[in-house]
């Protein structure tokens, strides 16, 4: 009986989570246009630009270096195996395809979720604790539009850009390895890369990164809004935000990759 109770309780709490996520998502989507340049309010766009700097631009060094390292690791690991078959050039395909399809978006998402999911939930959570959110509401300003929408827009724009840049970093790491080990030139390397990547891969990467961006900013905002019980609550919510968003990013990645695989889009030609 205990066990059933536990299962029921956690099911309800998951369903609640999912419901809250969906409601908040639609509320923000409906107000996203208010933040955009030209059609929206100028002041919101300015907030969104600040957010882009915080979420995107300042995450660039971190995600870039993470990708460089991962690219190098991938090249090293695969080279030690491929060398035995005398197929060292295949390192190029492995790094290029691996990064565009999988690691580029994933590593960027993990970097952003570590930096920004926590920052967003801390910021929103603090606003909840200090009654700033209530103050907005009683002024007749919707917190969803005033605080959340700029963050969404910023994440949706910057995360795909970051993904492209860190994918390039990862692929460049592959070049570094091959240049040191078999003196491959940059020209030859990038020709090989261009041959192994399809346009479809790039499109799928961007789709993935948009999905990841949504997950990160969404979980961050929701955890922030749910803060209760003062400053300790803020601390707890930042941890939950990072854990949940990283977890959901990886699950979403698996789901996306599985779908692409089943649709036959991932076959290497």
């Amino acid at each position: 009986m205990r066990f059933l109770e536990q299962v029921g309780r956690s099911t309800i709490s998951w369903a609640e989570d999912a419901g809250a996520l969906t409601i908040q998502f639609w509320a923000v989507l409906r107000r996203l246009s208010r933040v955009m340049p030209i059609v929206g309010k100028k002041r919101r766009w300015r907030t969104a630009m600040q957010q882009m700097y915080a979420i995107g631009a300042s995450a660039l060094p971190m995600s870039g270096i993470m990708s460089l390292c991962t690219g190098f690791i991938l090249a090293l690991q695969s080279a030690s195996e491929l060398r035995r078959f005398g197929a060292l050039e295949y390192v190029v395909d492995l790094v290029a395809v691996g990064f565009t399809r999988e690691l580029g978006p994933l590593i960027t998402a993990i970097a952003v979720s570590g930096r920004s999911a926590s920052a967003i939930s801390a910021e929103v959570g603090t606003m909840v604790v200090t009654e700033e959110v209530d103050a907005l509401r009683v002024m007749g300003l919707e917190p969803v539009e005033y605080t959340l929408a700029p963050k969404y827009l910023a994440a949706l724009i910057t995360v795909p850009c970051l993904t492209v840049l860190s994918t390039l970093c990862g692929i460049f790491a592959g070049y570094l390895f091959l240049a040191f080990s078999i003196d491959m030139t940059l020209r030859v390397y990038f020709q090989a890369v261009a041959e192994s990547i399809l346009l479809r891969d790039i499109v799928l990467t961007l789709v993935k990164s948009v999905v990841f961006a949504t997950i990160i900013v969404h979980v961050g905002c929701l955890e922030g809004l749910r803060v209760s019980g003062g400053p300790e609550g803020v601390g707890r919510s930042t941890t939950t935000a990072v854990v949940k968003s990283t977890f959901l990013v990886i699950v979403a990645d698996l789901a996306a990759t599985a779908v692409f695989y089943l649709m036959g889009w991932s076959a290497v030609e």
Binding site: T130, E131, E132, A135, R137, V138, G140, L141
Partner: protein
């Protein structure tokens, strides 16, 4: 001609009828009836956990009561549309307990925020209005500071200035003097009285500070365990014989939680020797 303007001037500005709120099985507000009249300062007194913050949240429309109605200028905010609620909210200024200032904005931007977002005034006009409000609360010199640089009393003044930015006819102040030293707190009381006499604002103050309550109140309402046990002028309130009010006024500790057990007292006396 909106609904509110067609109202009779003698009608209460805020009219709370049979409002009940429960959290789970706990009744926080129990059939509360309260009227606030035009141009008066009504002080809502109550101990911790008496439900005064909950009642305040209902009045400003942050939460909906389980049953009952709250009319502000004749508009029932428990059943009106979102648009009507927004319109009503623009006529209510709320100063929160800790100020709830936006830390990323300077003092003047905090006060200007409602003006910028909710009106179509020109920037120069907004600047002027902000300066006037800050001057009135005595903070014209602090306009360019940021909230973390302010003292507790200054924050509350800025919060009042921001609540008052759109010239609302109702001001709601949550614990304006809590956590302030007596001098600053007295200054804030004077500010509240000034707002009332100079601009005929209707002011609802929630507090547990007796001195401040008796200084500013026209009428005092006492909330205890979710029920209103007295709504009186302050003179009548002082002579009210309700046992809880007597205890509150005479600062007598609660038998259960406030008193120090005899054993502990004996022990303290022991170690003092």
């Amino acid at each position: 001609m909106t609904h509110s303007e067609s109202q009779n001037l003698d009608d209460p500005v805020i009219s709370i009828r049979e409002v009940s709120v429960s959290y789970g099985s706990r009744r926080v507000l129990d059939e509360v009836d309260l009227d606030v009249h035009r141009g008066e300062i009504l002080v809502l007194l109550g101990g911790s956990g008496s439900g005064k913050t909950t009642l305040l949240k209902q009045v400003v429309g942050l939460a909906k009561p389980d049953t009952g109605s709250i009319r502000i200028n004749g508009v029932d905010i428990t059943s009106c549309s979102r648009r009507e609620l927004t319109a009503v909210r623009r006529r209510i200024g709320v100063a929160f307990q800790a100020g709830a200032l936006f830390n990323s904005l300077s003092v003047e931007d905090n006060v200007a925020l409602p003006l910028r977002e909710l009106t179509r005034l020109a920037d120069s006009t907004i600047e002027l209005v902000v300066w006037m409000k800050l001057k009135a609360v005595g903070l014209a010199d602090a306009a360019r500071l940021y909230p973390p640089e302010l003292s507790g009393g200054m924050r509350k003044r800025v919060a009042v200035a921001r609540a008052w930015a759109l010239d609302p006819y109702i001001l709601v102040l949550d614990e304006p003097s809590a956590g302030l030293d007596p001098i600053v707190s007295a200054g804030l009381d004077e500010l509240i009285l000034f707002l009332k006499t100079a601009f005929r604002v209707t002011i609802l103050v929630v507090t547990h500070e007796l001195e401040s309550a008796f200084r500013i109140a026209d009428r005092i309402a006492m909330l205890h365990a979710g029920r209103l046990i007295a709504v009186d002028t302050k003179e009548q309130f002082q002579s009210n014989s309700h046992p809880w009010i007597r205890r509150f006024l005479d600062r007598q500790p609660d038998q259960v939680s406030g008193g120090i057990p005899e054993g502990l007292m004996a022990y303290l006396r022991e170690i003092q020797r």
